[in-house]
């Protein structure tokens, strides 16, 4: 077996372009999971009991079933109801909702960790509810959550390849396409794994340092 480095150089532009697609999906999916996760957390903390219960049951169902099947579900079922989305937005939507059920737990515990005195002080100052949340509670709650949220971003990034099963040409699917043309699976798939490692390992080291700093 010989590894041809010229071949690495040859396929690199296509793999890098696909890496950008993967990063774009991860970024958009993560943004959605933050917005929706915060909403779910607030609903569970402040919503009517029935609504809070429904959010809990729904989140548990999503967390306990595979992302892969949720992707199939959205990809094959949505068109039956007249919702015709291209594959990539469908994937972003599904991965964003899936991870929102995880980020909502981080938000919930972060909000609960803000001392009750802060709520009481804000209320005794007569601040409107929106100001209490936006200017008092969330700024204090979010900082300690950053490492946990960052870990979910890295985890999500590594799950973007699942979108290849619904025809999205992200990194893994592109790698398969290239490997299928030349049958050089060793080079292409190893390089793909290396790209994932080079992006996720330094990020997780950074998060571990952040976390260690916070604890001391």
């Amino acid at each position: 077996m010989e590894i041809d480095f010229a071949y690495f150089v040859e396929i690199m532009p296509r793999l890098l372009a696909a890496t950008v697609v993967t990063l774009r999906i991860a970024a958009l999916g993560f943004a959605l999971s933050l917005l929706l996760g915060l909403l779910l957390a607030v609903l569970r903390l402040r919503g009517k009991p029935v609504l809070a219960g429904a959010v809990l049951v729904g989140s548990e169902f999503i967390r306990l079933t595979p992302l892969m099947v949720q992707l199939f579900f959205a990809f094959y079922v949505l068109p039956e109801f007249g919702v015709r989305l291209p594959a990539e937005p469908t994937g972003i939507l599904v991965i964003g909702i899936h991870y929102a059920t995880y980020t909502s737990e981080v938000f919930r515990s972060g909000i609960l960790a803000v001392p009750t005195g802060q709520w009481e002080a804000a209320r005794s100052l007569g601040l409107p509810v929106s100001v209490v949340w936006m200017n008092v509670i969330l700024p204090q709650a979010i900082r300690p959550m950053i490492p946990a949220l960052g870990n979910f971003l890295i985890q999500m990034f590594k799950e973007v390849p699942l979108l290849s099963t619904i025809t999205v040409y992200e990194l893994l699917n592109t790698a398969n396409l290239i490997a299928g043309e030349t049958f050089r699976y060793i080079e292409v798939l190893t390089l793909t794994g290396a790209i994932f490692f080079l992006l996720s390992f330094p990020s997780s080291l950074l998060l571990r340092r952040l976390e260690a700093k916070r604890e001391h």
Partner: protein, 223 residues
């Protein structure tokens, strides 16, 4: 609704395959977690480096890429595994890498004084571990290990991409044959839930039971 009668056996067979993969890979992952988690606590620099490389490699590269790599690249390197064997091995190694960190963290979280006390009492190391360290570490490890096993069962669906006819694969095939994606994928999701929910809820229940028992033990000790 006639198709349900035809689809049910296909999906149930798929669920059986997923469960079987989950059990085999899960047992492998638990053994790896304990062995590697314990090894990572040793001071030998070679052991430390090798275990760190293993853990960071499997955590840093995507599980799905690992599945593909094992299926397409290993045969080219002369390692002949069936898709099923390759898939089980990757899942066990991947979840084992995460699990070993849980085990290491749980052991590290037991206060140093406990180790020192065992040493001062002249307990043999296995007695110290079995009777003192492990029971205390367990309380921290059960829920995270339960979550990892849930992730593992969810991860068995990745093997559908390398021709293993597990539940996700069976569902997709059934939709291609019979149509009705809404009903079929809904059943598939519920079948996954039937496997994962007992693991997640069982782990939480066990955790609460152990905590309650230890709390009572402490109360009794105080009296």
């Amino acid at each position: 609704m006639d198709f349900i009668a035809e689809v049910a056996p296909v999906l149930l067979t798929g669920a059986g395959v997923s469960l079987s993969i989950g059990i085999q890979a899960g047992l492998g992952a638990i053994v790896i977690s304990i062995v590697v988690g314990a090894l990572r606590g040793l001071s030998n620099p070679v052991v430390r480096a090798l275990t760190a490389i293993y853990v960071e490699f499997f955590r840093g590269t995507s599980a799905f890429v690992q599945v593909y790599w094992a299926y397409f690249v290993l045969p080219l390197l002369g390692v002949r595994l069936s898709a099923l064997e390759a898939g089980i091995a990757v899942l066990a190694l991947n979840v084992g890498a995460y699990g070993s960190e849980v085990v290491r963290g749980a052991i590290n979280a037991v206060p140093k004084g406990q180790h020192e006390a065992c040493h001062a009492l002249g307990l043999a190391w296995w007695v110290a571990y079995w009777k003192v360290i492990v029971p205390q570490a367990m309380t921290r490890a059960i829920v995270p290990i339960g979550n990892l096993l849930v992730d593992l069962v969810k991860g068995t669906s990745l093997l559908s991409a390398i021709t293993v006819t597990e539940l996700a694969f069976a569902g997709r095939q059934a939709v291609q044959t019979f149509g009705h994606p809404l009903a079929i994928f809904a059943i598939v999701l519920v079948l996954y839930l039937a496997i994962t929910a007992p693991i997640a809820w069982g782990a939480r229940w066990l955790d609460e039971r152990i905590r309650a028992k230890q709390f009572l033990g402490q109360q009794a000790g105080r009296v």
